[in-house]
Each structure stands twice: as C-alpha cells, then as structure tokens.
C-alpha cells in the first residue's frame, strides 16, 4: 500500500526534493532547509504521515555544509516510512522546528540540539535533556574527543 503513496509523494514533492528514492523500504527525500515546513505539512496533511518518530543529525567534518539533519516519519494509516534529509552548515546550523506539527518534536529536538548543536527555530525549550545543564560542546560531533571528561561533580581524591 505504501508504494502507491510513495509514488504520489514523489509526484507531488518532486520539484522540491533534490533526491527522492526508495531504499530499504523507506522513501528518502533530500530537500533544502527552507522548504522543510512545506514538505512536512504536505507529508502530514496530504499523505497521512501522522507520526514523527525520530530526528537526528549526521556529522561530515570534511564536507560543506557539514551536517545532515535527518527526520523519520511514519504513517499509522498506510504504514509507509519517509526520511527527510537536509544539509546545514556549521556557521548557521539552523532548521525549522516541527513543534507546530507534532507533539513528539519538542523532546527529540532537544536531544539533537545538545548532541549536535543543531538549532531548531521555533522550539522554545532546547534545554539539555540527556546531558546536564552547563555541559560544554556537542558530544556527537566528530571533533568532540570521546575520552574528554567534564564531570559535574568533581572527582574525589583517593588516597593510595
């Protein structure tokens, strides 16, 4: 059933999307950051992708623009899955927030924000969620050293 929807989505969003291909059962759309809200509105209202399941980013330090921001949507009506991907540069890693469309956006965007430093325009609650208040840097960026420690509670001296 979802194949027919994929075909319709491709027809409808073809002009906006730079790429639209089905791989491993997921329709993957690559778009410009500016057209995000229009694409998501069409996906949600026209094509029935009523569940926003995931948002994350991928860091490509050698590339410009450096980050991929990746959203996954699911439909509880026709069970199709769609992935929306866009590129944002390090200088201004900003995309629009999906809070107006989906309740789940608020929490998941908080995680993506703290881990990669992606800013979600329109989400007024980007406090840390898995990390703590005052944590410096964005740990899932490739240039954040894995071994770096910044404990909130200082280590205690242990006498040998």
């Amino acid at each position: 059933m979802s194949e027919a929807v994929f075909e319709q989505v491709r027809e409808h969003l073809g002009p906006v999307a730079q790429e639209a291909a089905v791989a491993h059962g997921v329709l993957a759309l690559t778009i410009e950051p500016a057209s995000l809200l229009d694409v998501v509105r069409a996906l949600k209202d026209t094509f029935g992708f009523d569940m926003f399941t995931d948002v994350t980013a991928v860091d490509w330090p050698e590339r410009e623009p450096r980050f991929d921001v990746v959203w996954h949507f699911y439909s509880t009506r026709h069970f199709g899955r769609v992935r929306v991907k866009t590129r944002v540069p390090l200088a201004d890693p900003t995309v629009d927030s999906l809070v107006p469309f989906y309740g789940s956006a608020r929490f998941m965007e908080r995680e993506c924000h703290e881990m990669y430093g992606i800013r979600f325009r329109g989400n007024d609650d980007l406090r840390p969620i898995l990390l703590y208040e005052g944590f410096e840097g964005h740990p899932l960026r490739r240039d954040y050293p894995k071994q770096k420690e910044q404990p909130l509670v200082p280590y205690r001296d242990v006498k040998p």
Binding site: A23, H24, G25, V26, A28, D50, M51, F52, T53, D54, T56, V58, D59, V70, H72, Y74, T76, F79, R81, R83, Y102, G103, S104, R106, F107, M108, E111, M115, D125, R127, P128, I129, L130, L131, Y132, E133, G134, P139, L140, R142, Y144, K146, L152, V153, P154, R156, D157
Partner: protein, 409 residues
C-alpha cells in the same frame, strides 16, 4: 584538593518552572532516585494539595554515550552494547540491530535463524511484560502477584541462560545469524515453562483484574487519547491501549511474523488499567506465537554462509590458514559493510525500536542512532500525569515501563 560541599554543586537540571501558577501551589521534586519509580528519572511537579497541576520530566541520568561509543568499534563489537539498551528484553535489541546491519549488507538470514529469532523475540517480550506488570503491581502493594510473575521471569532467565550463557544481557545475535543453535531438550523445557506461565498469569488475573483497590488505582488514571498518543510518537502497548491496533509485527511484518496467527490486543481508553490488560493479553499472544513457532522451526544452519560476517568454525581457524585470516580480519577490522544508510524498526516490548545506521564502508560504523521507545514516551508522559493525584504518578509511571538503559542511552 577537597570536594566542595554538595550544596555548592550546580543543579544538573534547569526546571521549566520555579514559580507556581496558582495561589498556594507548591513545587516538589520527585527523583531522580526514588524508591517508587523503577528507572532513574526526575519529575518536577507543581502540586495544588495532592493534585498535580503540571510536570517537567527530566531523563538522562543513565546516559553513557552509547552512540558516541558505537562510532569507534566494529559492527560486531556493538552487539553486547545494544543488549544494554532495553535490558529487560535484550534479545529484541540484538535482532533489531543485526537486521539493520544485514539490510545494509544485503544479507538474508537462514530460515532457521529467522524462526528462532522470532521465537526468541517473543520469549523476550514475555519476560519484559512480566517484569513491567510485576513491578507495577508491587508498587501498588500486590506482593503475591509480583512474586508469581517474577517466578516465571526467573524460569525464563534461567532457560535463556542455558541457551546463551547469560541471564539478562545475552549477546546472542550475530550479524548474519545467531551465536549458536539450541541445546538438547531446550524446546521441551520451553513448552513446560509456557504451560506453567499460563497457570501463574491466570492466578494474577484472578487476584487483580476485578480487585476493587486495583481498579480504583488504575481505571481512569493516566488517560491518554489516541490523537495525543500518535502526536507524541507513542508506540507499542501505550498506543494500543488507546484502542488502535497498531503493531509493526502486523503492519510491516518482518522476520516470520507474516506467517503467524496472532491478534493485536487493544484497550478501550488508554488508562493504566488498559495498559496492564494489553500487556497481559500480549503475553498470551506471544505464548501462542511461540507454540506455533516450535512446530514450524526448520532444520538447517543458524548462520548464513557469508565470509563477510560469519565467523569460521573454530576447528578450521586452528587448522587452516584461510579461516585463520578470515577470523583475524573479522575480529580486527570488523565486517565490511558497504556505504549507505538504513532505518530499520522492530516492535520492541515497549514500542518501535529503530536503528538508523550510516556506513561509509569498512568495519566501523559512521553513525549509529537508536530510536528508543522509552525516550520518545518520556516526551509525552506529562500528558498522563497532569491533572491526576500525586500518588497516581507511581502506577502511571509503572504502566509506561520506562527503561533507563534505552531512554538515556
């Protein structure tokens, strides 16, 4: 250097509110380490008397950098690590992760592995639901029901230890198959445990289903509507308790689920009682599936014959140079996964467990992202807490079954 006194340490969280909205309301802090919430979570709640006006939920106390760590190990080395996401049903994590990697590599697992994975995933689901219900009931004071359920869970753990060597974190999945085949007599014991479980869950039904105290604490408490549940990304028993039969095993069948006869139990209004009952019914359905799978289980190898991911027989590693090199390459460099990206979702015990993997080729992942149901559920949990009594937080939270390991990663 002496540590500063604890009162001078910075607060790890910034509450969303510090002032009450109504006259006489107080703000209390519940957790992160609280005897009545299983899982380390902090809830800042504004109370008017005993009524919860609003809540601000903070998770992350179990964050250990799962995704960061994944970027510096081989694809194989991650299997013990994904075990520790949802440690109540570790096998489901194993299989979901392995299937995502297999999709990237274009591997189709052997029929025996496919049916065994399905069987073990359902077995794990039973263990997970038993844990959730047992703990939720115990928090309401139902000690007998708790002991009945964890007795069966312990049988399952011991039984899985016979198969995998571990009680909780099994590391039993392999890219391209499974670690080993079933030991002698394993299926016979499986049948015995399922029969015994039917007796014990029957007793729990008798103890609590129509128990006045239980109903008063559970019915019409923590209600969430289908529309809210979908908007907040709820999946699994939480979504089904609102009355919609959405189940990835049925909707987008994977493994052997397309060939199985099973129902998707749903609730009526999405309250605590429905969540309890949906889980109890899912246990029955899982047992029904396992009994079918025991009949269907084909013979044959449990691993694909593919040198890119399957380890050669130990016997050959010690006697033959090609196998020795193969083993060495798989351990030191890891399975060579072609470049690409994949999102693969399984129906975990708590909901949609998705893995988003990005590979640039080679033996180490570029990115591993886990879409964990518990984390997404925490984003909408305030909807089920606000407006109810302070004491209702405990059963509501128990019925959500938040697992710190997968929530905080």
């Amino acid at each position: 250097m002496s540590s500063p006194p604890l009162t001078q340490l910075p607060n790890p969280i910034r509450p969303a509110f510090e002032q009450g909205t109504t006259e006489g309301s107080v703000i209390v802090n519940i957790g992160p380490s609280h005897p009545a919430t299983h899982g380390t979570i902090q809830i800042v709640a504004e109370l008017s008397g005993e009524r919860v006006i609003r809540t601000d939920v903070h998770c992350g106390y179990l964050h250990r950098g799962f995704e960061k760590e994944c970027e510096s190990h081989t694809w194989h080395n991650l299997i013990p690590y994904v075990d520790r996401l949802n440690y109540c049903s570790a096998l489901i994590n194993d299989f979901a992760y392995c299937e995502a990697v297999e999709k990237l590599m274009g591997i189709e697992i052997t029929p025996r592995a496919k049916y065994l994975r399905t069987l073990l995933a359902e077995y794990s689901r039973i263990a997970d639901h038993l844990t959730c219900i047992a703990a939720a009931l115990m928090e309401l004071g139902a000690m007998t029901a708790f002991l009945y359920l964890v007795t069966i869970r312990d049988y399952i753990y011991e039984h899985l230890a016979d198969l995998t060597g571990a009680r909780v974190t099994y590391s039993y999945g392999r890219i391209g198959g499974l670690a080993r085949d079933l030991p002698e007599g394993w299926l016979k014991r499986l049948g015995e445990i399922l029969d015994e479980m039917d007796t014990f869950t029957g007793r729990v039904h008798g103890l609590v289903d129509r128990n006045r105290i239980f109903i008063d604490r559970m019915r019409n408490v923590g209600v969430i509507s289908t529309a809210d549940a979908v908007s907040y990304g709820f999946t699994g028993p939480l979504l089904r308790s609102t009355g919609v039969p959405r189940d990835l095993r049925k909707d987008t069948p994977y493994l052997a689920y397309a060939e199985l006869d099973f129902e998707v139990p749903v609730g009526i209004k999405g309250d605590n009682y429905d969540r309890y009952y949906v889980r109890m019914r899912e246990i029955d359905e899982s047992a029904h599936m396992i009994r079918q799978l025991m009949e269907m289980l084909p013979d044959g190898p449990v691993c694909v014959d593919d040198r890119r991911c399957t380890f050669p027989e130990k016997q050959l590693v010690y006697t033959e140079i090609e196998s020795l090199i193969n083993h060495f390459k798989l351990v030191m460099e890891g399975p060579q996964v072609p470049p690409g990206e994949v999102y693969s979702a399984h129906e975990g015990a708590n909901g949609e467990l998705g893995f988003y993997l990005v590979s640039v080729g080679g033996g180490v992942p570029w990115k591993v992202h886990c879409r964990s149901p518990s984390f997404v559920h925490m984003g909408g949990v305030h909807k089920m807490l606000d407006g109810y009594q302070l004491a209702d937080i405990v059963p509501t939270f128990g019925s959500i079954n938040m697992i710190g390991g997968e929530c905080d990663r």
